[in-house]
Symmetry: C2
Subunit: 335 residues, 2 copies
DNA sequence: CTGAAAGCGCTTACAG
DNA sequence: CTGAAAGCGCTTACAG
């Protein structure tokens, strides 16, 4: 951290202690090849001069940039996905732990977007990609796999024959934890506020609710299910439908925090907050900001990011399904 | 976009049409130096071979990486700042328009974080930095300016003698638009739900409310102001304080969307939604997701990002203050 | 264990 | 307007 912007070069470090450039390079890349005394001298010189290998030079020589490409998803107004924010942070930290960095880019969805990936590759600006928010029919996994480009996806593509490595969170298991939690509190009629059919993540969570409810001998009849958009409004109106039914549930399991927030709002308006339990999913900032605090399911984003980096280096594992964690707050407790 | 991962080199393009490497390089970097016919031939070859200059090679030679460093802020749980998400997207797009990319990194706040900046610079991994969410006493602007590192900040540092270029949104002007809007709808007693004193942004917005209210002859007495955290809860309890006062306001101006949401929730609970106007600030996804839609002030993030990129290349401008835009929705309309 | 050499793919003065 | 040359800073076989 000397003031010089230019920065020392490997050559200068070598000259400083009278060894060859090769020796300094070895100290960095193959320390076992050096005599311990020499290694120590070199390391001291590196420290003293604040030397750091030039990324471009190293990249040119090794044919790798040390960069991992990540497409930033444009946010639709009105859609709440604070989760990807946290994931990006976790991914960034995981990359840094391996002396790599995230290169951000934007690209259209679908086939048109592929030229951006091709361009980044042609420039050798990135070594690999991390895919997030893959959709059904996403062309990217196949396209990258064909070209032998290392990549890993956060989220299964839910299509047949998925190409490439993925890491995902076991939404069904998360929902099962929620249902068991509510059951243990005495709830015997549990409604589900879901997304519209066709979303892999949403359908997986619904499966989890249904499977565990059935396993506990609870009803999963159609009248207990309302589906809609991933908005606060949809949660509010969905909750109204369930609570106005002939045999209303005593607990509302929402597919996401946004939907759960709508249900909480409705209960607050009706002044029946105390009677009906509500749960969300994702443990977004919203979950702990609201009153009562929202019981939710936390995605293990740090572990997801770690696994993704692992898969990038080791393409022999095809996928990992990680278990999320139930976070209990006041919204699920009967009062 | 031929299938070859290796990618063509400048040399191969040159050989393909029998010119020297220099000619191809000129076609890219100084096209005016070439005969139009030659230029066309080279461009055709570049297109045909899908040639893109190798970033590492170019970076090594030009001593610039084409990368702009951006520190990802770790999110505290319970704090809603969807805005930075959108800013990052705008920044990424603006960088791409200039054939540059964003390199993400994490770093601790304060002086300890500076070594991360030093490291990135020593590796020549980035050419410049974009600073966001600068805080009072932030060491980064001074540190970077001292070293002659190009940078620009989103947000004034609010301290004396700010180093380096900045772009910011005129929060006071945004608030003035809000107050004038409410005044034109007939409101004569307008409360303010703010953040605690000491936050540059929050204080600026309060100034805007006060200044325009006074200009319109409205009261700005202390009893019309409640300050607290940037949470939904704080908005809820703050709204309760104002509405329970002896002379309650007919409109609540919140310093942020999160705070406004709390106010809306309280009104919904009390069943008086129709009587009291509420406004937010930032026009976050929350603003349009809620019912009634939240009148808010939209930060011109695309223009902020454009200006920041401009300042990076032209350090002769010290700052730009951009005007935000009022977005009127149902929450501010008397019914 | 250490040192001299080649070369990654580009850009940019410099001659012609 | 075009071409041969040097060199950016590194890594990695290859001799010694």
């Amino acid at each position: 951290m000397t003031g010089n912007r230019a920065g020392a070069t490997l050559e200068q470090v070598a000259a400083h202690i009278g060894v060859s450039r090769q020796t300094v390079s070895n100290a960095l890349n193959a320390p076992h090849k050096l005599h311990p005394d020499t290694l120590e001298r070199v390391q001291a010189a590196i420290e003293e001069l604040g030397y750091r290998p030039n990324r471009s030079a190293r990249g040119l020589r090794t044919r790798s940039s040390g960069m991992i490409g990540y497409r930033l998803t444009p946010r639709d107004r009105g859609v709440l996905t604070p989760l990807m924010d946290d994931f990006l942070h976790a991914l960034c930290a995981a990359a840094e732990a391996r002396d790599r960095h995230i290169l951000l880019f934007t690209a259209p969805l679908g086939d048109e977007g592929l030229s951006v990936y091709a361009d980044l590759l042609a420039q050798r600006a990135v070594d690999a990609f991390v895919l997030a928010e893959t959709v059904v029919g996403d062309p990217r996994p196949g396209w990258l796999a064909e070209r032998g480009v290392p990549f890993a996806a956060f989220g299964r593509t839910w299509g047949p024959g998925q190409a490439g490595a993925w890491v995902d969170v076991d939404g069904a298991h998360g929902m099962a934890q929620v249902v068991e939690h509510l059951h243990s509190l005495g709830h015997r009629r549990i409604g589900f506020l879901g997304w519209r059919e066709g979303d892999g993540v949403g359908d997986d969570r619904l499966r989890g609710w249904r499977g565990s409810a059935e396993g506990l001998g609870l009803s999963t009849e159609d009248g207990l299910i309302v589906r809609g958009a991933n908005t606060i409004d949809a949660g509010r109106s969905g909750a109204a439908v369930l609570l106005n039914s002939a045999e209303p549930p005593t607990a509302l399991v929402a597919v996401s925090d946004a939907v759960a927030l709508g249900a909480l709002a409705l209960l607050a308006e009706r002044g029946v907050s105390g009677g009906v339990a509500v749960t969300g999913f994702d443990d977004s900032p919203l979950a702990s900001a609201t009153l009562p605090g929202l019981t939710s399911v936390r995605q293990p984003l740090e572990r997801v990011a770690e696994h993704i980096l692992l898969l990038l280096d080791n393409q022999s594992v095809s996928g990992s399904l990680l278990r999320p964690e139930l976070v209990v707050r006041a919204s699920s407790e009967r009062r």
